[in-house]
């Protein structure tokens, strides 16, 4: 098998071409991510020449540009293939035959995973969850996505690509003639299994926005607060209160940011809203703009959802034409709001609002120290409201139907409905819009997952519950979730799941805080010991201690939740751990592998060990 080359030839480009791209973004260092993404698309890598020219052109330094280029996993310093295939390496994909699919791609391409073919035609990589767990295994091929992959399907795809067809032609021979919405739905099934009254049911056009026109900004904030709406991204902060803080802060400019960077493995509800309710989303953002007095907005779309960019761009343009975006919205003098799409580039951490803002400022997507919170000092130092896609959609509906209507839905302190993205071992994976307060048992029978042995609620940073907790309710007061419900049947290995989730955090840690950067690697190794049957009872204490340190000493949500897959399973599946932890009889560590440790030296010295090789004398 052709190993491929770690780096094929760096394409030669003229400085003028690179400069032209930079000028397209006004040589603005805050648009660094767009500039680099654009250059990567054109020249297949961010070469040393590109780094130098971009730094000069934007008045930045080379090391700063390189810092951005190396931070995002969709940017590469070495050339990628003209067709880059990124297989989604989520746990659900693994349980749905990812290994066979990967092997099929490797065989068809003649290169190994992580390599680029010698002629520069193809690259093959893994990427964490791309938000298609309900149709796994899935992959991105350049800017399009393919789903429900099988070995047969892979052969078909590769035959087409090798015969010179474009990735778009895989979806439809007449891809160019399709409307953006049709393109998206041809690629990805929405899988809406249950529509509720708020978001996925029938929604009148811009009814909320029109009602908001007659309201004073403070009244809009009051209505949103009175509705009891809480952030739908996972943290559940009261939306009205967030807006109030932003509106109160004296400032020249304010910003409305939509966080469409849903990267939590197993979450894909925003994908469906972005496909089916883009107008509602932008309506919600426009209402937010009026409420807090913002004139500018950003829709931060995760790099994995690039296939939706065109659709969203067309919606934004349509709304500008209809006078729903831009200066004097619906003819109201002084009500100006417009927004742009900011593409991410494959970094989970950018779903954290500080990191998201850093990313929009053209920096590596590292979280910011809090306080100050973004509502007082956010994008470029101005008050910034960052809300999830679902939250903005809810806002538009609240303004239309009234705060009381929304407040009456749900249970306890959780009002309205919630979108759940369901995947894993169940009959009907997909998106469900349900009122808060359902028990897990009822939920499982609704989705056809009664067999479940474990359910991951809220993705890896959420909680994993066992059968004895299926009476618990999905709400902010009990089982909170940003939307991900991943179901695991009795045949699944809990520790395999935990190891996957920890590896995910190892990959996605931004590296700023040492306990998170290093500690998660140690957690990963320790779980590996359990899986190999080499753990002893002290390792359970070690896992707890280390987890506590990581949680206490990391500055953002990634570090403070990354040990949760371990802590939660330790609490809810204690027997898994205790059954695998055995004290060693002779107190010699079984984890130390002497044969592996001396292998380098054996090869270097070209002789065997007189202590550890039995046939030394021969």
């Amino acid at each position: 098998m052709d190993e491929g080359l770690p780096a094929c030839e760096v394409p030669l480009v003229s400085d003028a071409e690179i400069m032209a791209v930079c000028e397209g973004y006004g040589n603005d260092p805050h648009r660094m991510l767009d500039i680099l993404r654009d250059l990567q698309d054109r020249f297949r890598c961010i070469s040393p020449q590109i780094l130098t020219v971009v730094a000069k052109q934007t008045g930045s330094t080379r090391v700063a540009v390189e810092g951005v280029a190396t931070f995002y996993s969709f940017l590469s310093l070495t050339p990628k293939g003209r067709v880059t295939i990124r297989l989604c390496d989520d746990i659900v994909d693994r349980f749905s035959g990812l290994a066979e699919v990967t092997e099929a791609f490797e065989t068809e391409l003649g290169i190994k995973l992580g390599h680029t073919s010698r002629d520069g035609a193809f690259s093959l990589d893994y990427t964490p969850c791309i938000g298609l767990c309900d149709q796994a295994p899935a992959a991105m091929i350049n800017d399009i996505v393919v789903t429900n992959l099988t070995v047969e399907k892979v052969r078909g795809i590769m035959a087409a690509l090798k015969s010179g067809k474009s990735p778009e032609a895989l979806i439809s021979e007449r891809f160019g003639e399709l409307k953006p919405h049709e393109r998206a739905t041809r690629m990805v099934d929405n899988n809406i299994r249950h529509a509720g009254p708020v978001l996925l049911g029938p929604v009148p056009e811009d009814a909320g926005l029109r009602k908001a026109l007659d309201l004073a900004p403070a009244d809009i904030v009051d209505a949103v607060e009175a509705s009891g709406l809480r952030g739908c991204g996972g943290a559940g902060f009261v939306t009205g209160r967030k807006w109030r803080f932003a509106a109160q802060e004296p400032a020249e400019r304010r910003f409305i940011f939509c966080n469409a960077d849903e990267g939590e493995p197993g979450t894909f509800k925003d994908r469906v809203l972005l496909t089916e309710r883009p107008h509602l989303l932008i309506e919600g953002m426009t209402i937010a703009a009026k409420a807090v007095g913002a004139k500018e907005g950003v829709l931060y779309l995760r790099g994995e959802y690039v296939y939706l960019r065109e659709l969203l761009q067309s919606v934004i343009e349509e709304r500008r034409e209809r006078g729903l975006l831009g200066p004097a919205i619906l003819g109201v003098e002084g009500f100006d709001f417009d927004l742009r799409i900011q593409m991410g580039a494959g970094a989970y951490i950018c779903g954290e609002e500080g990191a998201l803002i850093s990313s929009c400022e053209g920096l590596p997507g590292e979280p910011k120290t809090r306080p100050p919170f973004p509502v007082t000092k956010g994008y470029l130092g101005f008050p910034t409201v960052v809300n999830n896609v679902e939250t903005f959609c809810n806002v538009a509906r609240i303004l239309d139907r009234g705060a009381e209507w929304f407040h009456a839905l749900g249970a306890g302190g959780s009002h309205g409905t919630k979108l759940f993205s369901v995947s894993g071992d169940c009959l009907n994976p997909g998106v469900y819009e349900l009122a808060y307060g359902m028990t897990m048992r009822d939920f499982l029978s609704l989705v056809g997952g009664e067999e479940a042995a474990a359910v991951q609620v809220g993705g890896p940073s959420g909680t994993m519950i066992a059968r004895d907790s299926f009476h618990r309710r999905l709400s902010f007061d009990d089982l909170t979730t940003g939307g991900a419900i991943t179901i695991f049947g009795p045949e699944r290995n809990i520790l395999e799941i935990v190891e996957y989730y920890i590896s995910f955090f190892v990959h996605e840690s931004c590296g700023y805080c040492t306990p998170c950067r290093v500690g998660n690697v140690f957690l990963q190794r320790a779980i590996g010991k359990f899986r190999k049957g080499l753990a002893n009872p002290k390792d359970i204490e070690y896992l707890k201690d280390l987890s506590a340190t990581i949680i206490e000493t990391s500055r953002c949500g990634l570090g403070t939740t990354s040990p949760r897959p371990i802590l939660e399973t330790m609490e809810n599946f204690p027997l898994v751990y205790s059954a695998l932890a055995k004290p060693s009889k002779d107190r010699i560590r079984a984890t130390f592998d002497i044969q592996a440790a001396i292998d380098d030296a054996r090869k270097l010295a070209k002789r065997r060990s007189y202590i550890f090789d039995r046939d030394f004398g021969q």
Partner: protein, 189 residues
């Protein structure tokens, strides 16, 4: 005190500089007190090369950089009830573990040896080769602290630990009065 049967102690220096063994001697005239409580079995101090009996306490200086270190350390674990790691090398790998920093290389061990014996700026090695006598134990891929190879019961920190902390720990353990270190004893700033 004297009517108790004497405890047996063994010591070994693995990948260390022997400084910790020197520090053991630094307990000065209290050595006489200590010898009333113990007999020394296998140790470089007695030049006994093999265990003659099972021991109560084993003291290990240095981490594991080669296969022989691993062999000796495992032997100590099998023959000693309580195993003490003494000094930073035994506890964390110490100075020898600096070679673990060669990590962005396809062949870190070769890179390390070549710099040490051939390509280093101040090397005068007329043979221009890396020593490879059959009697030399094979090096490990990296330097390991003792606790990664066997279970360690106590760590005495320091580089080297002072005679005082060594004496206090040993006499405390032997009389069943050891309850951890005084903060002042293990402060180095």
């Amino acid at each position: 005190m004297s009517d108790l049967p004497k405890a047996r102690i063994a010591t070994a220096s693995l990948a260390g500089c022997f400084g910790c063994h020197m520090a053991i001697l630094d307990i000065d005239e209290r050595l006489i007190e200590l010898m009333k409580l113990v007999e020394v079995d296998r140790s470089p101090l007695t030049d006994i090369k093999r265990f003659t009996k099972r021991c109560d306490i084993g003291i290990i200086e240095g981490g594991c950089c080669n296969e022989e270190n691993v062999h000796v350390l495992r032997d100590f674990r099998r023959h000693c009830d309580v195993l003490i790691a003494i000094g930073q090398c035994a506890i964390m790998g110490g100075l020898p573990a600096m070679r673990n920093a060669i990590m962005h290389s396809d062949d870190p061990l070769r890179e390390c040896l070549e710099e040490a014996y051939i390509s280093g700026k101040y090397i005068r090695n007329t043979t221009h080769s890396i020593p490879n006598d059959p009697a030399l134990p094979l090096l490990l891929d990296e330097v390991y602290p003792c606790s990664e190879v066997v279970e360690i019961d106590y760590n005495i920190p320091g580089c080297a630990p002072t005679g005082d902390v060594i004496y206090d720990t040993l006499s405390g353990l032997l009389t069943g009065r050891f309850h951890g270190f005084e903060r002042e004893e293990i402060r180095f700033d």
